[in-house]
Point group: C2
Chain length 405, copies 2
């Protein structure tokens, strides 16, 4: 039978150890800018150009010499002769001289000689004569060359997360490809004779593999690429072989159908090859979680029961995957609402309790920790601290959301 846990670590300490021990991905790849969204930049982008690359009009109207308009008024407009037209992408070759102007579109290059734009609303045009009813100051409604980005300016730092606006900033410079970090690969190894792959005929005592699919999704949602293994029997030689192969990936996850038994074998194998960082966490569910390091890679034995496995994948593993992938922490999305009923917790363990939001209350949906439906029905989870035995009905709790409610 299984050994007792020698000592349990606090949840926060376990997370801190994992974050400190995990390696950040170093491999790079070069991607076309259109494929680089959601990735992490592995170079510094310094602009070789001014953006905009020329003075341009911020309005539809007329490019003028500002001094020509100083005497303009509602009753005494200034009259200017239209000497040409500057459209976006079709600049005018003309030079604006005294008492002249050039019709100009938003985004079009400001013609030489002009230093301001009078917007069309403040003018009246007859044939080639424009009446200007308000004075403009030099620079009015002109976007100056380099106003957005200047030559030599650092536009994106090494390690920047390529969200839409950062992709846009690189596009503004005409960059075709970006050097980004590869997504780290997470080996996901389901273990145990009780686990069967999708579509298999279940033998007596068997259940279908769930954790491979939930862990794969969590890996994808946190900047990594999952690499599912076939099911491995919880025997020393089979587990050892799987571990040695999987250590060529960036992080190794084991997860079986039951809660303690096979992690004992894993502990032995990890000790042979590397070291145990911790075994056992003061958290419910998730107590049997195992973490070690071998060949410089983190190896995690996730709880086998699907709901325990997934809850701990959200709460414990996701931040570690993001650290490894160099992607920023997820925005914590939470909701503070009263709880619908009294909940009794255990002193000495942090409890992660799945809840559903109904009528603006947090309704516990806790079932046995094997029940995947306790998560499929849940909108999020609450954390009941280690020193809290009782949450009274109506107490306001913070729900960390899995999904929008």
């Amino acid at each position: 039978m299984m050994r007792p846990f020698s000592k349990l670590l606090s949840f926060e300490n376990a997370k801190a150890i994992m974050l400190k021990s995990v390696g950040r991905v170093e491999r790079l790849e070069e991607l076309p800018i259109g494929d680089a969204g959601g990735r992490v930049l592995a170079e510094e982008i310094v602009s070789k150009m001014d953006v905009p690359p020329f003075d341009r009009s911020a309005m539809d109207g007329f490019a003028v010499r500002a001094e020509d308009t100083f005497s303009a008024g509602k009753l005494e407009p200034v009259k200017l002769r239209v000497a040409g037209k500057s459209l976006a992408g079709h600049p005018s070759g003309a030079v604006v001289k005294n008492e002249e102007c050039i019709e100009i579109a938003t985004g079009a290059k400001l013609p030489d000689g002009a230093d301001a734009v009078v917007k069309v609303e403040n003018t009246d045009v007859t044939d080639d004569i424009v009446k200007v009813f308000t004075p403009v100051h030099p620079g009015q409604d002109v976007s100056k060359r380099g106003e957005d980005i200047k030559t030599g300016q650092c536009v994106l730092r090494h390690g920047a997360y390529l969200d839409p606006s950062n992709v846009g900033a690189a596009a503004a410079l005409g960059i075709e490809t970006l050097s980004v970090f590869e997504r780290p690969i997470v080996a996901i190894i389901p273990t145990g004779a009780e686990v069967a792959p999708p579509g298999a005929n279940l033998q007596e005592g068997q259940v279908y593999d769930i954790n491979t699919y939930t862990l794969s999704q969590v890996a994808l949602l946190n900047g990594c690429l999952p690499k599912p293994w076939g099911i491995v029997l919880d025997e020393h030689e089979a587990l050892r072989k799987a571990l040695l192969e999987a250590l060529s990936e960036d992080l190794v996850l084991f997860s079986g159908g039951s809660s303690v038994g096979e992690t004992d074998i894993l502990v032995d194998i990890l000790r042979e090859r590397g070291e145990i960082l911790f075994h056992g966490i003061q958290v419910k569910p998730g107590k049997p979680t195992l973490c070690g390091k071998a060949d410089g890679k983190l190896v995690v034995g996730m709880p086998g029961y699907p709901a325990s496995c997934l809850t701990n994948a959200y709460a414990l593993l996701a931040p570690v995957l993001r650290e490894m992938a160099r992607v920023p922490p997820e925005n914590e999305r939470h909701l503070d609402v009263p709880i619908s009923r009294r909940v009794v917790s255990s002193l000495g363990r942090l409890q992660l309790l799945t809840v559903k939001i109904e009528a603006e209350k947090a309704v516990p949906v806790h079932k046995e920790s094997g029940a995947i439906t306790s998560l499929a029905d849940a909108d999020g989870y609450i954390e009941i601290p280690i020193d809290t035995e009782l949450v009274e009905k109506g107490d306001v709790v913070r729900v960390k959301l899995f999904r929008p409610v």
Copy 2:
């Protein structure tokens, strides 16, 4: 020169019209369960089995007949003979008789004859005799067959979003493939002679195409697949040809370098082929946004200036893309903080003002609406209502976040 806007629609009305007019994707595809995460289920999943498919132990311990333990106490343990072993995936063939028990692991099948489990902490074993120190009731620490999912139960509804726990619920049933909705395809058409593709040598008056890349990312982040077009000149025949081709996709986005000019041509072309839903919104930036419908598809002329385009992609377009893709609305992630300085807004237009979070304050980073860096530097945006002219320094504003801060 451009025509004036006939009437401006409120931002909320514009969004409501788009949400009502957009078609939801109907095309289906069949995906292996491991590839179906993040997609939308196009079938109802009704369980053909019980989960767990057998009574199983929730603890490591001994399977017993509960009545045999009723007289057990700390000082007067009951003694039971160990008649076998049931491990996860290796059920025992033995039947538990009176005054017998079977060693059992978490997740293992409860042997016939037994109706409860005594956890190992409450026992003491010597050779094949177990001392039981506490009574258990029938069903104690047993997960009953079907406790998680029952045969005939609807596990996932048509239209369910396949987040990790929903993928897990399908995996629990051993399902190999899922029928999901295809991701809708969004045609993205940059327009105007002033726009150049990445890597091109800029001609006088030209800028690089930004909107294709920001809009593609927004499409991907909201459940759609972007299909970027080449740059199209803002001339009637070229735009008409591009529109007709693009109408074979699910939604068409046009966006040019300047703000009004080319949308006039688009208005004419859309009128020929379909109808205009609106042209002009009471929002800053984003006033020139155009929306029409042709061949049953929504066609949107996004503002040309990159920051205007992306701000409106987040605020106006993203909910429409999600509706089309059938994915749930994004969790609104916001932060309520004081603003760092007084901001003057325009009565009669909703203002979307980009801000950065610094020292727990919202610091406006507004530049000219062409400035992509106003977004790359921003952490989110605030909405200044249509009837608000002034936000005083220190007023608490709600920042809708682009990214974690």
